[in-house]
Amino acid sequence: MVKDFFSRIKGIWVPLIAVIIWELLVRSGKVNPQILPAPSAVLVRWYHYVIPAEVHDPKTMSYVKWMFSGEFFGDMWASFYRVFIGCLIGTALALPLGLVMGASTKVYDYFNPLIQVLRPIPPIAYIPLSILWFGLGNAPAVFLIALGAFFPVLMNTIVGVRAVDSIYIRAARNMGANPFVMFTQVILPAATPYILSGIRIGIGTGFICMIVAEMIAVNSGLGYRILEAREYFWSDKIIAGMFSIGLLGLAIDMVVDRLNSYLLRWHRGLE
């Protein structure tokens, strides 16, 4: 039992030792805490970042509002919201286009050259243009995130539709499926493994765009917060913010993973 427990927590040793060395290094005075703060300092800073800023008074304030009076939850929500809306828009545009491009070589031939020209431009390169177009605020941020999500979803959807085994199409035609049924009940579900992995990559790209956009275009969210901390030389807060970004990324990834395995419960995976 005891042995079991120790083998199960194997993964804790390396980070634990790294943190201890880090702490000792800073405490020994060999490193300037302004450059690299001790992990304990980061933890304290993180705690103050998370806890509500105001005293709770049940008469005037709901619990949720109280919780959001600190910076952390507000930042998390702002960042999450942007990624969510941006990826939603990017996917909503890429999915139908990808389906049509995958299904029709004619449409593909019309759109492909344009897409091949635009695709290699990193979304970040659109920052100046997006600020010019949308000004500052949520609009350019969402635009960048949508752009980041758009191409991975598009490319995977095209490949997914093309990879649909012709035997399914033949079976469906044999049973009398019209083109609409074929599209919605055969091609779309058959392509979902590809589409979902495209969405997953798209969310990853959208997440990166979100952090960058927040550093430039808005004044809320995790990306904004760590850039703000730099202005005050709060390196402990920068690192606390970075861990918060990692936390949000992990949470989103876990939810997407759950959704994936639910939607692909019929899929045999790699056999």
Binding site: N174, M175, G176, V186, P189, W266, R268
Partner: protein, 264 residues
Amino acid sequence: MTALQIKINNVHKVFKGSGGDVVALKGIDLEIHEGQFVCLLGPSGCGKSTLLNAIAGFSLPTTGNIVVNGKEVREPGPDRGMVFQEYALFPWMSVADNITFGLRIKKEDPKKIEAKLEELLTMLKLTEFRDRYPKDLSGGMRQRVAIARVLALDSPIMLMDEPFGALDALTRRSLQDELLKVWFEYKKTIIFVTHSIEEAIYLSDRIVVMSYRPGTVKKDITVKMPRLRDPTGPEFNALKAELSELVMSEQLRFEKAHMGITGD
């Protein structure tokens, strides 16, 4: 004799290829009557699938035509239900949804669909697998679902392309018996492709032996033995010997042709 249902008139099929044209079918003439169980038998590459696909409407003849119930075949349709060797079940649908697909896309009355589903699940011993996905089923079970799916269409004709080719001997035998039961109860016309001589004799009323390149009808044999047939009986074995001879000579031509091509 029952009414004529499928008439194949002088069908040719040529595949154009870089290495020259392949004459897959040449001058096929066949008349198939309602309720007949016909096996197409022949070595690999002799054009069995090509002929079946032409009847199904997936790939039309180069010249000649096929008339089903008085109408020339131009496209696939639910009046000619197809069972594929690779099952071709939709993996994203449960067994029940796979079976009812053809009815649901026709917007049939849900009560009727449910009744049909129950009937077919019972008939093919699939009741306990109703909500499973195809990935959880064995090959034999999958082919039962594929058969049920085609039966749900209520098509008078069933086309089967080596449906039991991938199954082990025991599963194969039990599915053959199952199919005979289905054929008997639903009075289907079945065209069944196989290259197993034994399977052809065990199942069919009529065996059409095809030749290799060009694909022609080499022999058309009527099987009169009462069912269920005994694969060890003398009549069975005599027919088996006769057919082996026929198929073997085609097989040899096939091998010779390949030696000619590859040069080894």
